[in-house]
C-alpha cells in the first residue's frame, strides 16, 4: 500500500484505487493520502513529478475534492518550455482558477509570452485560456496580442483569436469594441477558412450586440455578408463541413443569426435579405437524429424572417413552415423548437400564429414538461377577447394537472387574462372561483384580494357568488383560497345566502348559458334541491372549518380560523335574533378564548365581550358588522398582454403591477393577519392604528358606551374597521403602505428632461438576484407629454425585463408607474440606462438619457 502511494504513483493507479474503493469513506481516505503526498512534493518544489502531480490533482478536483491549493503549480507549468507541461498547466488554470483569484495575475506573463510564441499550438493554448478566465484588466492587457493573432497566417490561430476576441470585448465593451470592429472588417469579411469564418461571424454578432456604432458599421456590409451565405449555399459541396447534404449548417446558423440582428428595425438591410431567406423549404422528418441538419437551418431562418422587416408574404410562409413542423413532428425536440419560435414571433404576426392555436393547445397536455411550459407561455400569448373562453377552459384543465411549482405562475396569469379579456363579470367571477377551487392552496394573496374586490364591486353578482362559494365550500374545504373567500363572503352576504334577496331569483342568476363553468349548473341544482339554506346549516359548516380546517399548511389554518371568527361576528348581526343562533355563535367564539394562538385568542375574547347581554352591545355589533362599503371601481389593472410580459411573467412583478388595483383585497388580507405568524403586533402594516383600535375595543368591552364609534368617525373608525376586517380599502390603503407603494425602498430621484424619476425597489422574494423596480415617472413640466417611450439597457452582466407603460401620455403633474425587473449577479449593484423619448407640450420631440445606478449591492 505504501508503495502504491509513493512518489511514483501514476494517474491510472490513483484512478484505480479510487474506483476500487468500496465506500465513500474509503475513497476519501485514498484521496486524503494522495493529496498529502502531492502537497509534500509541491512543497519540495519537485519539478520532476510536477506534471504528473497536477494531473492527479485535476482528477481529485473533478471528483469534487478541494484542489485550489495546487493553482500555483499550474502557473509554474505554464512557464515550462515543454508543450506537454503547458498543455496540462493551461488545463489546470482553466479548471482551478477564475478571474477573481490573484494567482491569475501571476499567470498573465506566461500567457502573454505564449501568445507571442512561434508555435501555433502554444498560441492556441493561451488563446483558449484567455477566453475562459479573462478579467477586465487582462482583457486590456492582452487585447493587442489577440488583435494581432486575428491576422495570423494560420486559420487555426485566426479562429481561436476571433473567439477569444468575443470574450475580450464582452469584458470591456466600451474600450475594445472599436479596435476589434476594425480588425473584424479587415480579416473576417474576407475569411475563407470555415472555422475562422464561423468564429469571426460570432465575433461580429457580439460586436453588434454590445455597440450601436459597430452595428451601424456592419450594416453597411450587409450585402457582403449575404454574399458569404450565398456562396456557402450555392458553392461546391465540401465533404468536410457539410452535414447530410446541407452546407456547413453551423456556419449558416451563425450567419442567419447575424442577419437577424442587422435586419431588425432596418428596412434597407432587410430588403437585401429577402431573396436568400425565401430559399427555406420545409424538410421531411424521416431522419433518425433528433435534429436533422436541414431542420436545424430552417428554424433560424424562420426566426430571422420574423425578426427583420420582411415582406408579409415571406412571414406567412415562415410561420406556416413552423406550424407544419409543430403539427407533423413526432419528435419532441422539434416541437419544442417550433413552439419556441412561434412564441418569439407572435408579436410580429399574431394572426398567423393564431391559425396554429389548436396544435398549441394540444401541446398543453404533453407529457414533457419542457413542451408544456412552452405551450403554456404561448397559450397566454395567444389569448384575446375572442378566444378567451375556450383557451381559459383549456388552461383550467392544465392547472388541475400542473405540477405544484408551476401552479402559482399559471394562477397569476389566469387572473390577469381573465381580468383583461373577460366577456362579462359573471364569467370573470366564475373563472376565478374555479381557479381557487382547483388550486386554492397556491393562490397568492393579491389574487385573493382581486377576487374579493370583484365580488364587492358587483352587487348584482353577490347573491350568486355567495351561494356558489358556499356550495363549493361544502364540497371541498381543503383549498385555502377557496375557504378564505367563501368564509369572507358568507360573513359579508350571509343574510342573502339564507334569506335570499329581492333581486335574487334563480332565473336571473343562471342565465349565462355560455358560462364556462360547470359549477353553475351544479349550483343551480343545489339551489333547486335545497330550497333554502338554514342559518344552522351555515353555522354547521363554519364550525367544522373552525375546528378542523382541512388545509394542510398551519399558517393558512390559523388565518382561516381568524376569518371564521370575523365571519361569526358579522353573522351575529346578519342572521336572525333567534336565541339558538345567537347562543351558538357566542359559544363558538367562546371555544377560542383559550386558544394557544394569541391572535385567535384575542379576537375570540374581544368578540365574545360583545355578546354580553345588553341591548347596547347588540347595537354595537350591528354597527361594527355593517356591510363593507364597496371600494371605488378601480377596474383591475390588467397585466401586460404582450408576449414578453407573459413569457417572463414574474410572480413578484405581477404582484406589484396588480398592486394598485388589488391593494384593496391585499390589504384586507394583511389586516386579517395572513402574514405569518399571526398577531397584530407582527403586522406592521396596520401599525399604530391597529393598536389604537385594540385599545378602543378593550374600552368597549368594559362597557364604555360613549366610545361606540360611529362608522363615519375618521381615524378611529378606520382603524376599528380595519381590525374587524371591515375596512374600506380606499381609505385604509395609504395607512398600510408606508414610504413606497410597492413596499421596499426608494433610490434617489433622478431628473430626466421634463420629468422626475423616483425609483422604488424591492428584492424579489423568490430570487435574491432579482430586483423589482417601480419607476414613478412624474411630469414636472407645465404642459402634457405625449408619445412617451422608455427603453432600458442594463449593465453588461445584468438583464432587464420591462413592462409596457400604462399610457404614453403624461398630463402635468401626473405620475405613471413603470415596472422593471433586473437580474443582477450577487455582489453587483443593478445599473440601468434609460432612454426616454417623448413629445413635449410644444410637440417637440425630446430624447433624454438617464442613468439609474443608486441601487444597493445585491447579496
Amino acid at each position: 500500500m505504501d508503495r502504491l502511494f509513493s512518489s511514483s504513483t501514476r494517474l491510472k493507479d490513483l484512478v484505480r484505487s479510487v474506483r476500487s474503493s468500496k465506500t465513500a469513506a474509503e475513497e476519501r481516505a485514498v484521496i486524503a493520502k494522495e493529496s498529502a503526498l502531492i502537497r509534500t512534493q509541491f512543497k519540495e518544489d519537485n519539478a520532476d513529478y510536477r506534471h504528473r502531480n497536477v494531473a492527479k490533482l485535476l482528477y481529485i478536483h473533478m471528483l469534487g475534492y478541494p484542489a485550489q491549493w495546487g493553482q500555483i503549480e499550474c502557473v509554474k507549468l505554464l512557464a515550462s518550455p515543454r508543450f506537454a507541461d503547458k498543455r496540462l498547466g493551461y488545463l489546470g488554470i482553466t479548471l482551478l482558477l477564475d478571474e477573481s483569484q490573484e494567482v491569475l495575475t501571476l499567470a498573465i506573463n506566461s500567457m502573454k509570452n505564449d501568445l507571442n510564441s512561434s508555435n501555433v499550438y502554444i498560441n492556441g493554448l493561451a488563446l483558449a485560456a484567455v477566453a475562459s478566465i479573462t478579467s477586465t484588466e487582462m482583457a486590456h492587457d492582452l487585447a493587442t496580442d489577440v488583435e494581432r493573432l486575428m491576422g495570423s497566417s494560420s486559420g487555426y490561430i485566426r479562429k481561436k483569436a476571433n473567439l477569444c476576441a468575443v470574450r475580450l470585448v464582452s469584458r470591456a465593451p466600451s474600450t475594445l469594441a472599436e479596435g476589434f470592429t476594425a480588425k473584424a472588417i479587415r480579416y473576417v469579411l474576407n475569411e475563407k477558412h470555415h472555422g475562422a469564418l464561423l468564429a469571426g461571424i460570432t465575433l461580429i454578432h457580439e460586436l453588434c450586440m454590445i455597440s450601436p456604432e459597430s452595428l451601424a458599421v456592419f450594416r453597411s456590409h450587409t450585402a457582403h455578408i449575404i454574399r458569404i451565405l450565398n456562396a456557402l449555399i450555392t458553392g461546391p459541396p465540401s465533404h468536410e463541413h457539410d452535414m447530410d447534404g446541407v452546407a456547413d449548417p453551423f456556419l449558416q446558423i451563425r450567419i442567419l443569426r447575424l442577419l437577424r440582428l442587422l435586419g431588425a428595425g432596418h428596412p434597407q438591410s432587410s430588403d437585401l435579405m429577402g431573396d436568400i431567406l425565401a430559399q427555406v423549404r420545409a424538410c421531411r422528418h424521416t431522419a433518425p437524429r433528433p435534429s436533422p441538419p436541414p431542420c436545424m437551418v430552417i428554424d433560424p431562418t424562420v426566426r430571422t424572417i420574423m425578426a427583420i422587416e420582411a415582406e408579409p408574404s415571406l412571414r406567412v410562409m415562415a410561420i406556416n413552415i413552423i406550424g407544419r413542423f409543430l403539427a407533423n413532428s413526432k419528435d419532441n425536440s422539434t416541437r419544442y423548437i417550433s413552439l419556441n419560435t412561434l412564441l418569439q414571433t407572435i408579436q410580429r404576426d399574431p394572426a398567423a400564429v393564431q391559425r396554429h392555436r389548436k396544435t398549441v393547445v394540444e401541446c398543453l397536455h404533453d407529457s414533457d414538461v419542457s413542451i408544456r411550459r412552452r405551450a403554456l407561455d404561448l397559450t397566454f400569448a395567444l389569448m384575446n377577447s375572442s378566444n378567451v373562453r375556450p383557451l381559459v377552459r383549456e388552461l383550467l384543465l392544465f392547472l388541475e394537472r400542473a405540477e405544484p411549482a408551476l401552479k402559482p405562475h399559471v394562477i397569476t396569469e389566469l387572473a390577469a387574462v381573465s381580468a383583461r379579456y373577460a366577456p362579462n363579470r359573471r364569467w370573470h367571477l366564475d373563472t376565478l372561483i374555479r381557479v381557487i377551487r382547483l388550486a386554492g392552496n397556491y393562490v397568492r394573496d393579491d389574487i385573493l384580494g382581486e377576487i374579493i374586490t370583484l365580488i364587492q364591486q358587483s352587487p348584482d353578482l353577490q347573491p350568486y357568488a355567495v351561494l356558489k362559494l358556499y356550495t363549493a365550500l361544502r364540497e371541498n374545504a381543503s383549498q385555502a383560497a377557496l375557504v378564505l373567500t367563501a368564509v369572507w363572503s358568507i360573513g359579508e352576504y350571509g343574510a342573502v345566502l339564507v334569506h335570499g334577496s329581492p333581486s335574487f331569483t334563480s332565473a336571473a342568476l343562471f342565465d349565462d348559458e355560455q358560462s364556462l363553468d360547470d359549477g353553475a349548473p351544479a349550483a343551480t341544482e343545489e339551489a333547486r334541491r335545497q330550497q333554502a339554506i338554514s342559518e344552522q346549516e351555515v353555522l354547521d359548516l363554519l364550525e367544522e372549518i373552525l375546528r378542523f380546517p382541512a388545509v394542510p399548511a398551519l399558517p393558512a389554518r390559523q388565518t382561516i380560523r381568524a376569518y371564521v371568527l370575523n365571519t361569526l361576528l358579522k353573522l351575529s348581526a346578519r342572521f336572525s335574533d333567534d336565541q339558538a343562533v345567537q347562543t351558538r355563535i357566542a359559544s363558538m367564539l367562546d371555544t377560542f378564548r383559550c386558544s394557544p394562538n394569541a391572535e385567535l385568542q384575542q379576537r375570540a375574547c374581544e368578540y365574545s365581550a360583545l355578546f354580553t347581554g345588553d341591548a347596547s352591545m347588540k347595537a354595537l355589533r350591528r354597527e361594527l358588522a355593517e356591510p363593507m362599503p364597496t371600494p371605488e371601481v378601480q377596474s383591475a389593472q390588467p397585466r401586460s398582454p404582450d408576449a414578453s410580459g407573459i413569457v417572463d411573467a414574474a410572480p413578484a412583478v405581477g404582484g406589484a403591477a396588480a398592486g394598485g388595483a388589488t391593494s384593496a383585497g391585499g390589504l384586507l388580507v394583511d389586516l386579517l393577519g395572513l402574514d405569518e405568524p399571526i398577531g397584530v403586533s407582527s403586522t406592521p402594516a396596520t401599525g399604530s392604528s391597529g393598536v389604537a383600535a385594540l385599545d378602543l375595543l378593550s374600552e368597549l368591552s368594559l362597557g364604555t358606551s360613549t366610545a361606540a364609534a360611529p362608522a363615519t368617525g375618521a381615524p378611529a373608525a378606520t382603524s376599528l374597521d380595519a381590525l374587524l376586517g371591515l375596512s374600506t380599502p380606499a381609505t385604509a390603503a395609504p395607512a398600510a403602505q408606508p414610504s413606497s407603494p410597492g413596499g421596499g425602498a426608494i433610490a434617489p430621484t433622478v431628473q430626466a428632461g421634463d420629468m422626475t424619476i423616483e425609483p422604488h425597489y424591492m428584492v424579489d422574494a423568490t430570487d435574491n438576484r432579482i430586483l423589482n423596480i417601480r419607476l414613478m415617472l412624474r411630469n414636472t413640466s407645465a404642459g402634457g407629454l405625449s408619445d412617451l417611450k422608455v427603453l432600458a439597457a442594463p449593465y453588461r452582466s445584468q438583464k432587464v425585463q420591462m413592462r409596457p407603460l400604462s399610457s404614453t401620455q403624461l398630463a402635468p403633474g401626473e405620475v405613471s408607474p413603470l415596472l422593471l425587473r433586473v437580474f443582477c449577479p450577487i455582489g453587483e449593484s443593478p445599473r440601468l440606462r434609460l432612454r426616454i423619448q417623448y413629445n413635449d407640450a410644444s410637440m417637440t420631440a425630446r430624447d433624454v438619457i438617464s442613468d439609474l445606478d443608486k441601487f444597493p449591492v445585491m447579496h
Partner: protein, 153 residues
C-alpha cells in the same frame, strides 16, 4: 454562448466539467448537482431541452453518459445540440469507440479534445477532420523529446 459543458454518468458522477464563465467553485458544484438532477429525471422520449432559470439546458444522452450544456434564451438550441454531437463524434473517433472508462482514465485528453471543439463557450470548428488533425498534431508534439513531460502521467 454556452455557460458550461458538463459530462455526467447515469449516477450523476461528473466525468468532465468545463466552465466558460468565471464562477466560484462552490457555485459550480451546486449548479452541476442541480442540472444533473434535472437531466437524469427526464425520460427517453422527452425533448433535449429544459427551461432553467433564465437560460435553457440542452442535453443529450449517449449510452450511460449525458452531455449537458446551457444556452442563452434567444440562442439556437439545435445548434448547441449539434455541437454536443460534434464533440461526441470526435471523441468516438479519437478514442476509437469511446466508452466511459476511456474518459475516466484519460479525462485530461477529453478536455484537450473539447478545447479543439469549443472555445470560450462557442463552437470553433465545423470540420471534424480539422479537429482530429489538430489534436493529433498536439499529441505528436508531446511525444517529441523537447516537449515531452519529464514524468509520464
Amino acid at each position: 454562448m454556452m455557460q458550461f459543458f458538463l459530462l455526467i454518468n447515469r449516477q450523476g458522477k461528473v466525468r468532465l466539467a468545463k466552465w466558460f464563465v468565471p464562477t466560484p467553485t462552490s457555485e459550480k458544484n451546486k449548479i452541476a448537482r442541480e442540472v444533473a438532477q434535472l437531466v437524469l429525471s427526464r425520460r427517453n422520449k422527452m425533448c433535449n431541452f429544459i427551461d432553467w432559470k433564465d437560460r435553457k439546458i440542452v442535453y443529450r444522452r449517449y449510452a450511460s453518459l449525458y452531455f449537458i450544456t446551457t444556452v442563452d434564451n434567444d440562442d439556437n438550441e439545435l445548434y448547441a445540440l449539434e455541437a454536443i454531437h460534434q464533440y461526441v463524434e470526435v471523441l468516438d473517433r479519437y478514442f476509437g469507440n469511446v466508452c466511459e472508462l476511456d474518459l475516466i482514465f484519460n479525462f485530461h485528453k477529453a478536455y484537450f479534445v473539447l478545447d479543439e471543439v469549443l472555445l470560450g463557450g462557442e463552437l470553433q470548428e465545423s470540420s471534424k477532420k480539422a479537429i482530429l488533425k489538430s489534436v493529433a498534431q498536439q499529441d505528436n508534439l508531446m511525444e517529441s523529446p523537447e516537449h515531452a513531460p519529464i514524468s509520464e502521467i
